[in-house]
């Protein structure tokens, strides 16, 4: 185990007072907080800074740490527990559970749970809750409409023979119908194991809707592009258009514009606020190549039709 110099991490002198420690911590915490700093390595740096503050802000823990620092910081090789540390730590209680965000170094010295593991004692006050986990679950749009059962696999840290080891868990999850992108599902007790089954952490699944080849989702409405030729847009047309549950007929009126929206009621997604609609968006497409004959017809049209779409420019 590598020794952690908390003073160096915070850039403080050994005799820094609590006010200085707090000021420096605040500055570094804001700088490296994962909600603010997306740079690689920032989250690790934040954890390191938070760990250092957790120890140095507390008089008892700081005194204990200072003692260890004198004992082990100079060692170029791995750091080991001081021989008399176990007995001297008895009156210094860190009341929170082992913190999975903190390093092995911290958990070895300042976690009650780690102490209990090391001492092989089973006190009732050593009960701890397992860590909650979050993972993303890709769901197809069709599956979100009908509901689906999906198998998932993930790894959680579990204490095995006194060591935190990652174990694989496999579950079948019933995704309820009507789930939306970013919605969360809680699987109670399926996170990391606690000291008894009741205290297992939870697993949170965050729904990620897989982009659909045809439809986009906007709230409870679905958006569908309807490509039309210029003459279909000019003359109007009856079309069969796809929906999530089969095809429906859509009457496109004459002279519709590119970007114009036509609503097909009730063909969107079902949500708490009611049944959504399918919004079709007209997209006028020019044929990629023209024959001499069609070019001649376009020419005739240009001579007959005097419409100027750029009147606003003059």
């Amino acid at each position: 185990m590598k020794f952690k110099d908390y003073y160096k991490i915070l850039g403080l002198a050994e005799n820094a007072d609590l006010k200085e420690i707090k000021t420096v911590y605040r500055k570094l915490a804001v700088k490296y907080h994962p909600d603010k700093n997306p740079e690689p390595g920032a989250e690790e740096k934040f954890k390191e800074v938070a760990e250092a503050y957790e120890v140095l802000k507390n008089e008892g823990r700081r005194a204990e740490y200072d003692k260890m620092r004198r004992y082990g910081s100079g060692s170029s090789e791995g750091f080991n527990v001081p021989p008399d540390w176990q007995s001297s730590s008895g009156n210094k209680q860190y009341q929170s559970n082992e913190n999975d965000d903190f390093s092995d170094f911290f958990n070895s010295f300042f976690s009650d749970r780690a102490k209990s593991r090391r001492h092989s004692q089973a006190h009732s006050e050593d009960l701890f809750k397992g860590q909650d986990f979050e993972m993303e679950l890709p769901v197809f749009l069709e599956e979100s409409v009908s509901g689906v059962t999906k198998p998932i696999e993930y790894h959680v840290p579990a204490p095995i023979n006194g060591q935190l080891t990652k174990i694989k868990k496999s579950l079948n999850v019933k995704v309820p119908k009507g789930v939306k992108d970013s919605e969360r599902i809680r699987l109670k007790g399926q996170g990391a194991p606690g000291s008894n089954h009741k205290l297992n952490g939870d697993l949170y699944l965050i729904i990620r809707l897989v982009p659909h080849p045809l439809f986009d989702v906007q709230g409870s409405n679905l958006l569908l592009n309807v490509p039309l030729t210029p003459w279909e847009a000019a003359l109007g047309i009856k079309l069969e258009i796809p929906t999530l549950d089969g095809k429906v007929k859509l009457n496109i009126p004459a002279n519709c514009q590119s970007g114009q929206k036509l609503r097909v009621k009730g063909k969107g997604l079902n949500s708490k606020s009611g049944q959504g609609d399918l919004i079709t968006v007209i997209k006028i497409v020019i044929p990629p190549s023209t024959t001499d004959e069609t070019k001649q017809l376009w020419q005739q049209l240009a001579e007959v039709e005097k419409y100027n779409p750029r009147t606003e420019w003059s």
Partner: protein
């Protein structure tokens, strides 16, 4: 088959986050989260989105040592950012279909 839940009670939330109920009441007063209004239970029930913001608020309070007024502002901005990111994602997808 694993049981799923889309809600969480205030007592469970307190247990998970390791906080007193009065803290959650304070967060609701600051608008950080809101219990489900049509809940028939006398106990407050939150959807998981609200529970997520409550847990985030607690972390910000502990990690950045800032008060609830500042946290409520930060959470508001984070929610706004998330909404804009989702809108941006949709608009980009729409643009790709036009190209």
């Amino acid at each position: 088959m694993t049981d799923i839940s889309l809600h969480i009670s205030v007592n469970e939330l307190c247990e998970i986050a390791g906080i007193e109920k009065c803290i959650i009441i304070e967060m609701v007063e600051y608008g950080i989260a809101a219990p489900i209004s049509d809940s028939q239970d006398s106990e407050w029930i939150f959807d998981l989105e609200s529970a997520h913001w409550i847990k985030k608020a607690i972390k910000l309070n502990q990690q950045l040592l800032i008060d609830w007024v500042a946290i409520s502002l930060v959470i508001d901005l984070m929610k706004e950012k998330k909404k804009l990111e989702q809108e941006n994602k949709l608009l980009k997808a729409r643009l790709n279909r036009i190209d």
